[in-house]
Symmetry: D2
Subunit: 310 residues, 4 copies
């Protein structure tokens, strides 16, 4: 046969699982989108169509829902670890499992203020509104020996309305851009970071707290960096997370430069200077795209470059 099979994987993608936990009248939600990808001794299903080594994707879906009930969902990471371990440990042909998760956040609808008592309801503890700020992500990979846990987020849109400059760059025949000493810097952060936890012999991170802290440090570094380039801001964000969180060794960002162009209003004789509070046109395409990895010194990069590409 003049062709051969290379890397391959399969599974059920985008299982939308919602778990409600009742603590008396107080309810809690976990709202996940879980994708399973399995690899192993799977040549025959490609070559001859024999499914003898195939755990059907439908079964992987059923497993996701059953695990949510049987084991609960403490965090996206815990849930992914349990699933990945199960597929590799219980199904002989499967040598490697990768679980990807998106998590959607909900916050409580507060009904306690005095004006809201039209109907007489007391405080309501089972009502939620979805918080669309960012989507939390996780990827757990297990090969029977070691785990790799990536956590991340996407669509976290941030803006500094000043404290950003851009100048001193290369000029060539195609240059038209003017240097700018007071511009808007806005981006929609996509990020993956890698934990140094790899298995049960180590104490695992507190996944929920680790996520909240990583996000907080990222936002603070964005806000507190006086920026000469989006690359500089990115590096500060990554460096801050790694310095503040000992459980994280590597972080990668994909950050589009969401251009806000100051509008030239000279057509109607109006000045539009940044210092006076300006009007901007928020452009869609094209956009600058800045991608980079930041590493704890001495650590190896393992987050794939193409994982964060737009």
């Amino acid at each position: 046969m003049p062709t051969i099979l290379g890397q391959n994987q399969y599974g059920k993608a985008e299982n939308r699982v919602v778990k409600i936990t009742r603590d008396g009248d107080t309810h809690h939600i976990k709202d996940l989108n879980v994708s399973v990808a399995l690899s192993g001794d799977l040549d025959e299903v490609h070559y001859s169509g024999s499914n003898a080594h195939v755990l059907p994707t439908d079964t992987t879906k059923n497993t996701v829902f059953a695990f949510a009930k049987e084991h609960g969902i403490d965090s996206a990471e815990d849930f992914g670890i349990a699933l990945a371990r199960h597929f590799v440990d219980s199904c002989a042909p499967i040598g490697r499992a990768r679980i990807r998760v998106e998590e959607y956040a909900w916050e409580r609808i507060e009904t306690s203020d005095a004006n809201s008592k039209f109907i007489g309801a007391d405080e309501v503890k089972h009502s939620f509104v979805r918080n669309g700020q960012e989507t939390r992500t996780a990827q757990i990979t297990y090969d029977g020996t070691e785990f790799e846990v990536l956590s991340g987020l996407k669509d976290l849109t941030v803006m500094n309305s000043t404290a950003s400059e851009f100048w001193g760059y290369i000029k060539d025949r195609y240059t038209t851009l003017q240097e700018d000493y007071d511009r808007i810097l806005a981006t929609s952060v996509s990020s993956w970071w890698r934990h140094n936890w790899t298995g049960d012999e180590q104490r695992p991170p507190q996944w929920e707290k680790s996520y909240a802290q990583a996000k907080k440090h990222m936002l603070h570094a964005f806000a507190e960096t006086y920026s000469l380039s989006l690359q500089q801001t990115l590096y500060q964000m990554g460096s801050r997370v790694i310095n503040a969180r000992s459980e994280i060794d590597e972080i990668r960002f994909s950050m589009p430069n969401k251009h806000h162009f100051r509008v030239d209003l000279s057509y109607c004789g109006v000045e539009n200077e940044a210092k006076d509070g300006a009007v901007y046109y928020a452009a869609d395409r094209p956009y600058g795209l800045i991608e980079a990895t930041v590493l704890r010194d001495g650590c190896e990069p393992r987050i794939p470059v193409d994982m964060t590409n737009l």
Copy 2:
């Protein structure tokens, strides 16, 4: 000619205008997507292609950006009123202007906690993170005599994890649905409501406050209604807004029933009862779709039925 022209309108859609206001070091953002639609004495541009009565869509775009600077953006509604008035009053062939606005909310990045002082920044007042909870909308129409102001929102996703039942419905040959006495009720609210303000002889509503209050009442009614049908919940939401806000006479909702199906885990011998905290499958399509108008008694409906259709 055996064909004639009917209703027509034109303009520049989706002008993405961002206005920064500087109050010392403290900045404020208004982030809008503004669409202009003009009607009037425009038969000839359709019949012969003569543009003699046409204010180009490019000019309507330039006007949006210039107005943001010259007049500022106190609210989406104020901005739309100023634009609609301008187009009708300043351009003879234009008899009617309709301005549609989407508004994106931003909140400040808080950097004041003690742990964040890596770089030495004090409190930062020009850094923002986009709050993706809902998109605010407005539509302002002016015909030279009267204004009509609709405010609204979309993509406000809410869930009650209990306090919802569905039973007692019609059964026929095609019925398979089981009655349910404890289900999840979730929806993504789209709504438009109409203010009774129509022109300068009346005192205008406080648009920002009115929006915040309408949204709050809508959320509270959702949370506080023990629901026997999504229609009942919808009516309570609309009724609450109109009863609480004298400036609003009419409100229309389009609310998809975002089905969360309790998973039957009998395949692996696991119970999954709502009362114990269940696992649900969040379905995409198909979905129930509930649409209705609620009116102050004695008022005429004016919000088009097809405006909120999905």
Copy 3:
């Protein structure tokens, strides 16, 4: 009660139904997305939550799938007529049914060329590739007495690379646009047209042929009109359809002006004239948006203005 219920409707939206018809080894596909909206004696479900008059949306879904099998799908229009009639005629509280359909086109994968006989397959008659040119639409409304049938399409993207001018328009303080005597005219056509068939006492149109012809005339008028404005082109398209198809009395278009801006390459000393074959920047937002109805003389407009709004 100081609030009252206005117009309301409910049903199951976006039922993705695929029907395969086997004619020996030759298969045929109908691939639809069907949305049901029912109105009638439904006040109580809103006021008290009583579902006694409610045919559940789940049942309307089951009906869609059962009808596809029991009656087949000759055309989107025929299918919608059968469903609308069923809901109104068989369910007492339902006074009006509106069925909306999207249809996705498939074409056969041709395998008959000599080079393709690797495996020895003869001509294959059950293999299809989706043709993404446009999405066909239909809306059927029935109130127990009369039908209204709209047919339509969306996302039909067309371009004339010349034979388009724009000049002679109003200039004001905000004007910056230069007149153009050779521009690209591109749009993505959304359209609804209304048939004059209203019930069984008339011979119905041949729905499949009518659609194909309406689309053809629309495309030809776009191609053959030397355009002085997008409005003129739109009117020619509508007029052509109505003149050529006696079964159609009214047509409405929503046509974004998909701007292709000729790039000013003077920064590198390169000319970029239309007559020499130019380079253009295809812009996303903002865009001109042109909407209008064209009517057979003497007919009343019935297609809602807001039905085609973007």
Copy 4:
């Protein structure tokens, strides 16, 4: 400094460039979306914010548009090769350029039939309708020494309405799926393939013909394979392309199993067997996802696994 910079790249993404070529009255379109990513001696822009080594993303955008005019666009691959070579060869700090392209296909609007001569236009040679079947893609990487050219496509949606089975798989505690001997097999193909051309010392492929042939072989293999698993079909598709096209050494697919579930109509006493022409529910999520690489024997895999992940 306890953190260091890892892999990084930057550039302008999604430049929407349209080139019209005029051959007398006959026009031709190339419609591309071009993304530039540059790497090199760029540590300082991350560490200190110095832009001394940065060619601004704005300049890379200007270069894309200028090259489209100065060099034309023979194919996406040729265009990407010219751009990648330019950035690396002309800008000292840039060591590697990666150009990604999406291409949108247009076909002519045919106006030659007798019925279309309403206005008197003869054959029109500048009118086009966009063909939405698939999006063509390309990725060109150049490091100053070697080129790597990937071509690809996405959103090519195909269906076999029979000749697909699925049985003989692993059963466990979570299995509920029934074996099926006559099912629909449908997928939306995403694929990247790698050419063995790496530089000017080799004769380059005819890129346009190579693409058309690769797509044709992929479609034929899909149609002609009697499928026992989607993996088997995928492997046949990849194998067919590599066997038929000597310029291609490697191909990777990401193929969602677009489930079409045969509806159980027993609720209304209706049979719905595949052999009689059945009704199916086309599901959105979750979906099976099958990904694999097929290689010419003896060749190394170079297409990143994460490049085709959904």
